[in-house]
Each structure stands twice: as C-alpha cells, then as structure tokens.
C-alpha cells in the first residue's frame, strides 16, 4: 500500500501523506476485513470440519444422549472465543501493518519514521477506531455461526464434511465482504451524524 500510494503522492510532492492514508485504510478497512478473511480460512473451516467429524461419528448424538446440549457445549465456546480474539487479532494486524508501512516508507520513500508515525496517529480519530474495532465483532459472529452451522448440518459422511468445510469458508468470506459494505456505510453515516 505504501509503495502504491507513495508513488502517486510523490508526483504531487505530498509523499508525507502516505502515513495518513495507510493508517486510515488499515484501521478502518484492511485490518478488520483481511483479518476476518484470514481467520475465516483458518477457523471457520476448522470449526466446520471438527463439528462435522463429530456429527458423522455420532459424537454429537452421544453428547445429546448423555444430556448435554451441543449448542451450549460446542457452539457457544467457539463463538465466544472468536468474538474475543478477532478484535485482538485485528489490533495486532493494524499495528503490524503500520510497522510494515513505516519500514517501506523509510526505505523506499525516504520518509522519516517519526514523521510517518506522527502523521499516522494524527490522521486517526475516534470514528475510525470505532469503525475498525466494531467490525471484527460482526465478522467473528459471522464466521463462528456459519462454521458451526455447516459443521452441525453435515450430510453424507466424510465427503459431506469436506463439502461443509468448503462451504463454510466460501459463505463466511462472502458474508464478511457483504457485511463490511453495510457496516462501512453505517459507520460513515453515524460518524457524520455523531462526530
């Protein structure tokens, strides 16, 4: 991002704006969505395959037969864990993205590191942080529920588990992108009204 935007800003003698753009794009959009999509590929598929395997080997039935609610035992912990960790991962993604951007700015655009960080921090306001750290909660809910749903509705044995895993990844990814569009629109509207 630094390389692409930096080359354009340099044409107008405004390469110092690179830090602003990187910070805003990362925190508002790229951090949450990329983290969501990466975690979907890792976790939604893992959840779907684990629960699907449990279903086809009758472990879920065994759980019910012993008086345990599978939603409480299997779905809730996964949903809670995803809701707690995705925002933290997003924060880490944002920080590492800015760090990478700083390194790229210093070495390719010859910008001062201090200037980069100062511009990046100054560019961010409360509305940006609200948007950037609200989205992960919605994305976490989407990938956890879709992963669990696909896993617990597997049909067709091990072939069904494979199918459910793929469907969980694709559906979660698409839903995250769609949700991102709506959430961004909503966040910009609220930012306009409230801040």
């Amino acid at each position: 991002m630094v390389l692409q935007t930096g080359s354009q800003f340099t044409r107008f003698g405004q390469s110092s704006l690179t830090g602003d753009v990187v910070a805003i794009a990362l925190v508002r959009e790229l951090g949450p969505s990329l983290t969501g999509l990466l975690v979907t590929g890792r976790c939604a598929t893992g959840i779907a395959s684990e629960l699907g395997s449990m279903l086809v080997t009758e472990q879920v039935d065994a759980m019910r037969a012993m008086g345990t609610d599978p939603i409480r035992k299997l779905v809730a912990p996964r949903a809670i864990a995803t809701l707690l960790t995705l925002p933290l991962l997003t924060a880490m993604t944002d920080f590492m993205g800015l760090l990478g951007g700083c390194v790229a700015s210093v070495f390719s655009l010859r910008l001062s590191a201090i200037e980069f960080w100062r511009r990046a921090i100054d560019a961010l306001d409360f509305a940006d942080l609200m948007q950037g750290f609200t989205k992960p909660f919605f994305f976490a809910f989407i990938l956890a529920t879709i992963g669990c749903y696909k896993g617990l509705t597997v049909r067709g044995g091990t072939q069904g588990v494979g199918r459910a895993t793929t469907q969980a990844a694709v559906l979660s990814s698409v839903m995250i992108i769609v949700a991102d569009a709506f959430l961004t629109k909503l966040a910009l509207f609220l930012a306009d009204k409230l801040f």
Partner: protein, 278 residues
C-alpha cells in the same frame, strides 16, 4: 407376518412404542411399529440393514422424533417432549453406539467421567466411580489412553462403561458386536449379561447377529460365582424368577414381522425367519 403373544402383561412397560412412523426423503422406514419392553427385560431387535433398528433406538432415546405415533419411556412420552426436557430425562438412559462414539479428543477416563462432570459431581467422587466402572469392563489400565490408542473391542467396552457410569435403569445397545471378532464379541455379550443380571437394567439391543440374542436368552451372569452360566429355571418358580426375560422382535419392511421368545423363533416355519437361523 408372524407374531406371538407377549410374555408379560405388566401395565407399566419400561419402553412402549405405539404406531411409530418415521421416514426420510427416500420414504418411510418405520410404518406403524408397536411393541413393549417390560422392566428388566431385554428386547433383541433383529432385521436386515435399513429396517430401522438403529432408528428405533434413537427414537427411544428421543434423539429422533417420529412423524406419527408415541413413545413412552419410564412413563414419559419422549416423542412429544421438548429437547430441553429430554436432555435431563436422558440421564436415565445409557446409549451404546455402534462404533462407540467416544469423544476422540478426551482420554478414556474423561470420556467415562463425562456425564458426572456435566452433572457437577465433585472431583473426589468422580475418579473412584470412573475406575469402578472401568474395572467392571476390565479396562482400568486404559484410563489415561485416548480412544485412538484402543482396539475396536476396547472402544466398545469403554462406551459401555460410559453408558453405565450413573447406573441408568435403561440401556440401549446399537449393534454392540458389529465388526468384532467372535472372541471379542463374546466379551461384549458377557458384559451385557453382567449389566443385565447385576444391575437389572432394561435393555433394547439392536443386532444383526442372532447368536447374540440367543446368548442373552440362554445364559446369565451368576454374581455368586462371577461366571456366566447356562440359563435354567430348574423347574421351579424361584429359578424362573432369576431368569431375566429375553424376547425377540424382527423388523421387516417398516413393520414388526415377528415378536416373541426364543422358542417361538427357533420353532418357526416361516421361511424369512428361518434365514436368520441359518
């Protein structure tokens, strides 16, 4: 169809199916099945693959709901209970699944203790009870192993241990000897005999192996000598009382094809039933 008079006329059967019907996209599997299992009785469900033996067990446990009919277990209508109520009610039933259905991410000890942990039993109580039931199935030494480290027969025995940890009055067995060699199958049947004769459980056992049913009908576990002995009444009422009843139910094409005792089954002239006796 051949049917026989049921052996008991007790008014409160432990399990009662009335006009049970269930099917899927391919069509109805059970079409109006009715039978009863009295307390301390073992009913052996026989039938070809796809006749609804496993379905019957799952319906009895409330894991599946019939589209028609009712299922009474210990006086409660499980076919109309909400899942929340069924979760609590199922603590009175043990279910031994065909492949064991052990939780593969937990050790044998954790698998067997599962129900106790869910019920909030104190830790200091759990370990001795787990070891006691593992001793019952002669697998005490496997308490720290994972299911993947066990043989098929051992997994089946751990599944039995898990099912009886809280001494349920009813145990449902889904093909407990399927895929096992004759020696291991005999071990499993011995365990089932011990459960029946030591704990007095009511059992519904689905199997494709008639010899398992005959073993349950012809033998009993003698707690005094701790051995499996031949089931004889010695011609007296006291002897007969010691023999837990074992009856047979053959399912075919969605209905009950035969219902009765071993003698009736062995003496049948029905050509279809004779194929089970070969």
């Amino acid at each position: 169809m051949t049917s026989a008079v049921t052996s008991s006329t007790d008014s409160n059967p432990a399990i009662k199916f009335e006009g049970v019907r269930i099917g899927f996209e391919e069509g109805d599997i059970l079409r109006g099945v009715s039978f009863e299992v009295q307390e301390r009785e073992t009913l052996v469900l026989l039938g070809e693959t796809g006749t609804g033996k496993t379905l019957s067990l799952k319906i009895a446990a409330g894991l599946l709901r019939p589209s028609e009919g009712s299922v009474q277990v210990l006086g409660r209508d499980v076919s109309s209970m909400e899942e929340w109520d069924l979760l609590a009610f199922r603590r009175q039933m043990g279910f031994v699944f065909q492949e064991g259905a052990l939780f593969d991410s937990m050790t044998v000890g954790d698998n067997v203790a599962y129900r106790l942990v869910e019920d909030g039993v104190k830790d200091e109580e759990i370990e001795p009870r787990v070891l006691e039931v593992l001793r019952f199935v002669e697998l005490e030494q496997t308490v720290d192993l994972f299911p993947s480290e066990l043989s098929g027969g051992m997994r089946r025995r751990v599944s039995i241990a898990r099912a009886l940890i809280n001494q349920p009055p009813i145990v449902l067995y889904d093909s407990p000897t399927a895929g096992l060699d004759p020696v291991t199958s005999q071990t499993i049947i011995t365990l089932i005999l011990r459960l029946r004769d030591v704990y007095g459980v009511t059992a519904l056992l689905a199997t494709q192996r008639l010899q398992d049913g005959f073993a349950l009908a012809n033998f009993r576990f003698d707690p005094a000598t701790k051995r499996v002995v031949h089931n004889v009444s010695n011609g007296n009422a006291a002897g007969a009382a010691k023999m837990a009843a074992t009856r047979f139910l053959v399912l075919r094409e969605g209905g009950v094809y035969f219902k009765g005792g071993q003698e009736e089954l062995v003496g049948t002239k029905d050509e279809y039933l004779k194929r089970f006796l070969v």
